[in-house]
Every structure is written in C-alpha cells, then in structure tokens.
Symmetry: C2
Subunit: 416 residues, 2 copies
C-alpha cells in the first residue's frame, strides 16, 4: 500500500519556465540578475509573482515589512498554515536561482495541487521575504529577522543604502508596504528550498541536501596598528609591519578552523591596507575574520583562540591590536519533525540525499526561532552563487521542488 500521494509530482518544466520568466526582470550584465531589494525591478518581480498567485486562486497578505503571503485555503478552519518560501530579491551581480527557486517552487506546489484538485487540511502559504540579501540595506535576512523579533521594525526602516535612502521610504515608494503587523502570524511549519551555494552536493553526487543545522557565525573585525615607514630606509629590526602581522593572523585563523574539522570553517575575505603604497610599510591593516560552526561552543573557542593568539603575535611584533565583533548569529538546529519530513520525502521519491549543514544564512534560520522549520537544498554548478554565472540543472530543480512538495504535503495533510 503506497503512502498517500506517493506518485504525485510537480511540473518541473512549468517551474523552470517561471524561473526564466522571472529572470527577465532586473537582468544582470552577464546572464544573471540585478534585482536588488526595493528597486523598481524588485517591485516588478513582486507584481509578476503576485499575478501568478492570483491566477492560482490565492489571497494576498502583505505586511509592513513588505513580506508577501499567498494563501491557498485548507479544509480545517482551525489548522495553522504550512508556510513555504524564500526571497525574490538578488545580489547586484546575482544569479537566477538564489532565493527565487524557493519562492517559485512554493507557487508550483499550489499550481500542482490545483491541477490535481487536491485539498489539504492545513492552508499552504507561499512567502516572499523582503531583503534577504542585505547588500543594499544591511543586514541580510532583514525582514524575516523583524518577523522573528530579532530586529525592531523602526530600526529596519531607518537602515540606509549607499545613496542615503532609507529602507522605510523606499518600501513606501515602490508600493509594497502593507498594513499588516509584522510577526503576528502563527505557523504550523515553515519549509524553504534553496540552492546549496556550496560545492558539497555536486561533489558527493547527491540530488538532495537534508539541512539539519545552520552554521553559527562570528565576524570579528581586527585593526592592527604598526608604524607606516619607508620600505627602503627602515632597517628590518626597526619595523612595525601591520601587513606582516595580518599575514600571521590569517595563518592562525586557518589553523584554528582546521582544528575543528570537518564542520567549522574560517577565513578572511575583507582586508584593507593603509596607506597601500608600494614603498610604504603598512602602518594599519583592518580585516574581518569569518568563523562559522554549527556548534556554539566551537565558535566561542575559535573566538577565544583568535584573540589570545593574535595578541601574542602582535606583542612579539610591537603592533597594537583591537577587536570588534561586527556581526554574528547563533547556530541553528532545525526542527526534528520537519527535517524528518524532508528526509522521508527524499527517500520516498528515490532521490540520493545526505544530511548537510547550511553554511550561509537563510530566512529559515530566523523563522526557525518562531516556528518548526526545515530546509531542502539542491546542488548548484561548481558551488557558484552570488555570481551571475550561478547555474543549476532542470533535474536538480525538479528533485528539490518534489522533495519540498512531499514534505509540505505530509505536513499539511492531504484530504482523501
């Protein structure tokens, strides 16, 4: 006796066509997208999504952060909705799938259920979270963060872009500020499909990543101050070379991350050298250490070892050092029941799968704080993301959307 709905599948070609149609809005310059949050392109993308949702018979909810909620009713008026979604905004040189796949796969679930005339006990609501990327208005995952109570709405409204325009003014300007109070919705569960944005699934030859945890993050900005002096006329023993101190701390960061293999990672992506002149020994270097681990105690250990080790390096070199924690979030453990629904769906559908830890932040990481949550990941070519060359195959999209579909179906309960 097969499980209810075992042979149900989404229409992958329709999903793909919708992805390509959405990608026409806010095109990039190299095949990807530039549909940054609260731009005219973002507004156009929202309108297209909303047109599709209305055509699928959904009712619209729009909150004061611009979060969009497209609802397909359930049969039980008391049952809390199952939410599914991600984000339609992109990086300035972003791809066609990061976020978009998760939203349009949610829409495809509703279209498929409509086609097949299937009713669910719980309502299903497809969500587009505002400003997941955070490149125009930092921080990332802003509106899901307000929804989950991590930031106040006033604070979010006051964030400014590089031109000095505020988030609140721009949300109003593009016409997607709703009246609904943010964060009052109660969820039965939240599911998010997202491309991996890393190389593991492709390297391991797996169709599906069952996301069990989200890595915690610590960003520590380090400022080293030495003494700017002439590269020619300053004898080696009299130098206070801030760039050499930076180099030694980069090696330390690498050692610390490897010591917590395989799940912890560490790197320095941002380095500013002053005065950055070929014939001046750098007097100041500012750089940011990025440590991540799914284990809170490991993050604390990495931070402590960085501080002690870097201070020791600087003492030996006559450098001054300052630390500032400029960002971070705690590790996330997704809901056992929701994770299990994802894993069961992958097995039921015969897709190869593996448990995986999300290295990037996602809206699901904040929503997990207020509702049972899980994520589905599909591979992306060469791990490439935040890049116009970001690519996935139609088969990967099909597998990811079908697993999302079945996890949602199991949770929302088909009425037979």
């Amino acid at each position: 006796m097969p499980a209810p709905g075992e042979n149900l599948r989404i229409d992958a070609v329709r999903l793909w066509d919708s992805l390509m149609e959405m990608a026409k809005i806010g095109p990039g310059i190299a095949g990807g997208n530039n549909r940054q949050t609260l731009t005219d392109a973002d507004s156009d993308g929202r309108a297209l999504f909303w047109k599709w949702c209305e055509a699928a018979g959904c009712s619209l909810g729009l909150d004061q952060m611009g979060n969009m909620f497209a609802r397909r009713e359930g049969t039980d008026p008391e049952a809390l909705p199952v939410y599914v979604g991600s984000h339609l905004d992109t990086q300035p040189t972003g791809g066609k799938y990061d976020g978009v796949l998760g939203v349009l796969a949610g829409l495809e679930i509703i279209r498929t259920l409509n086609d097949l005339g299937i009713k669910t006990k719980h309502p299903i609501i497809v969500t587009n979270w505002t400003n997941e990327e955070g490149t125009r208005f930092p921080p990332a995952m802003m509106a899901s963060g307000v929804f989950a109570g991590m930031h106040s709405q006033d604070w979010a409204y006051a964030r400014k872009d590089a031109d000095g325009k505020s988030f609140g003014d721009e949300l109003q300007r593009i016409g997607w500020r709703g009246d609904e109070v943010v964060g009052n919705r109660k969820m039965h569960a939240y599911f998010e499909l997202h491309i991996e944005q890393g190389p593991i699934l492709e390297a391991e030859g797996k169709d599906i990543g069952v996301v069990t945890h989200g890595q915690g993050l610590s960003w520590i900005q380090v400022t080293l101050t030495g003494k700017a002096s002439h590269t020619g006329s300053t004898p080696m023993p009299m130098r206070k070379n801030a760039a050499l101190g930076m180099a030694r701390i980069l090696e330390l960061v690498d050692e610390i991350a490897w010591s917590h293999a395989p799940h912890a990672v560490g790197a320095v992506g941002h380095i500013d050298v002053h005065p950055n002149s070929r014939n001046v020994i750098p007097g100041k270097v500012v750089f940011t250490v990025d440590f991540r681990s799914p284990d809170f105690s490991v993050i604390k250990d990495m931070e402590n070892r960085l501080e002690a080790g870097a201070r020791s390096i600087c003492n030996d070199m006559g450098l001054e050092i300052e630390f500032e924690r400029v960002g971070g979030f705690d590790p996330v453990q997704f809901d056992d029941g929701c994770v299990s629904a994802v894993r069961t769906a992958a097995e039921r559908l015969g897709y190869s799968h593996m448990d995986i830890i999300s290295g990037a932040g996602h809206d699901a990481c904040w929503i997990n704080r207020v509702a049972p949550t899980a994520m589905v990941m599909c591979p992306c070519v060469d791990g490439l993301s935040h890049n116009e060359a970001e690519e996935i195959s139609l088969d990967w999209a099909r597998a990811g959307a079908n697993v999302l579909f079945h996890a949602v179906l199991e949770t929302a309960q088909i009425i037979t």
Copy 2:
C-alpha cells in the same frame, strides 16, 4: 696649520628661515606641504627659489625637462662646475624638508660664499630637479633620470597624471619648460644633502650619514588566482583561498629579507584583495613585493627565492601565480673621491658620523651614472618622511649643510 676654510660656516638661521618661507607655498593640511610637481604651487616655489638665486647673483639655466640650474661663476673658465642640489617638489602629504633642504642648502652655500667674498676655481651650480617624487607623474626621479639617459624625454613628456594630463603639457602650462637640451651638461662632481627618511642616524645618535651606496630595488607584482566562494558553504578542503596564499608569501618575503641581514630589506606595502567582501573567500589577490639591497647579487637571489618559494606555496594550495617586475633599479656605489670629501668634511667639523646606505631612491642615484657623486644625510625625527609630520631640528640642518658646504669647498677649490 688648519685646512683652508676650516672655520667657515653657513648661516643656519638664514637657511632655516628660507625653508620656512618656501613651506608657505603649497601648504598641506597638517603642517607639511602639498607642492606636487607641475602644479601652480610648484611654479610658485620655483619662482621664489629663482628670485633668491638672482638676488645671490646667479645666472639661470632651464632645460626642456624644467630642471633649474643656478650658477655662481668660478675663476677658471676651463673648470667643470661642481653641482649641488635636490628637488623642491613634494608628496601630496609631504614634509617641509624632503628635497627642499638639499636645494636651499645649496643656495645657502652661495649666499655664504658671497658674504665672505670667497672665490672658487670651479663654478658652483645649485640644481632643482623636476618631479623627483613621481606621485603625480610616475616614475620617481623622472627628470634626473632623463638627464642621465635612463628615460627618453618623449616618454617622460607622455606620462599622464590621474586626470589624464600629460607631463609635457603641464610643464608648458606652468611656464617652466626651458630650451636647453637635457643632459648635455658636464659635471666635475655632484653633491646632494637629504634627510635620511629612516630612523638609523637618530637611533645611533649621529649628526651625519656619509652615504656610500644606494640600495638597489626590485618591485615584483604578484597576482594570485584562486576561486571566489562563500565563506560559509565552502568546506575547508575545497577552498582555493588567494588571501591565505598571499599571507604565506608575505611570511616568505620576510624570511628572505632577514636571511640577508643587515643590509637587505623586504616588505609588501600594496595589497588588493578581490572581491574584498566579508563573506567571500578571496578569488584574487594582487600585491607588490619590495626587495632592496646594496648588492646586486643579493637582489637576484631574493627574486629567485621568492619565485621558487611562492610557486611551491601556490602548488600546494591549488592557486595560480603570475609575477611581473613592475619597477627596479640597480644598486649604486657612490664615487670614492666624493664620499671621501663628505667624510673628511664631517671629521674636520667635528660632527659625529657614520657610513650609511640610502634605502630610498634619490636624484643622486641617477646622476651618479654620469658624474662623480656623493650624498650627505642628516637625521629626521623618528625616521618619519612622506608625511606632513616630517621634522628635523635646526642643529641637524646646520650640521648637514655645513658638511655639504665643506665637501663642495674642497671639490670646487677655494682661491686664496
């Protein structure tokens, strides 16, 4: 029986007053100067210098590179002139002494000789070399380089500043392009007084540096290419981290320089990280290694060890590496007779002194290729230069100018 002129001294207060008067032209924002080459301020500085030279009875020579030559006649029509000078242009945030001291000390020698009615066998010519700094129009020491045949004049004229203006056009515009062909002058000797721009003399408590050599220089621009990827979602073993490769090569540069202690030095002052984002493992880093030594074979050894060691580092890390030699000059050994004249002058005047190697490039390094040349150095506070806070004491200026005076007197020969 004292040597001829043993009790002769320049007027240090007059020299100092002239330094302060010149510093009023092209003032900086923090007590120093911004009198970059071929600006209106440079033109004004030249005019002031020339007014002073005329008042001292000099005749003016001006060549097609804008090099200025203020001549005090000698008694022997056949005797080649003794040249003395440096440069009046400054860094954009430069000091009041770098270059200027050498030019105005030359003028002070002529003023003193006039005051005392002293005649010399050889003419004495005070020179202001155009564009020694090279910050507006690279390379540094440009016009002395053309004089010495290192660059063609056409090439120099075609150099452009950040606004696209050419050296030739700007020289014409400020009115200091002469008719004289560059480099035809024959010199009996050339002497240059300059602040040390390093910390050695002050640390050693010496009044005078007798400059025996100029360090050779090699600038090697290194481009590392790895793979830009997400700091969170890329497992440690799958990274190609160009910044970590840069860090290891900085450590190698330091090791190589120390292995040739005490005279060789090495550092990296310029580092550009791409894309320089906190959550992206750098896919590309471009940086420039600065190696210096007074020994040509040492520079070659350092270059070879850098290339071999850096290739090995990159092989281990899966990084691509390219090297480009973007600058350099051979080590300089100054003329024995001229160096001896400087050392003898310091001893005769009772100043503490030491032999020193110039770590920075100077006009004297090029002129040494076409005439017997030596340099005198005086200390500067804390080794600070190319900085508005650059400072020297009046006593240091007095000592340096008196040693220059006596070296020039010995070479130009007083007529008694």
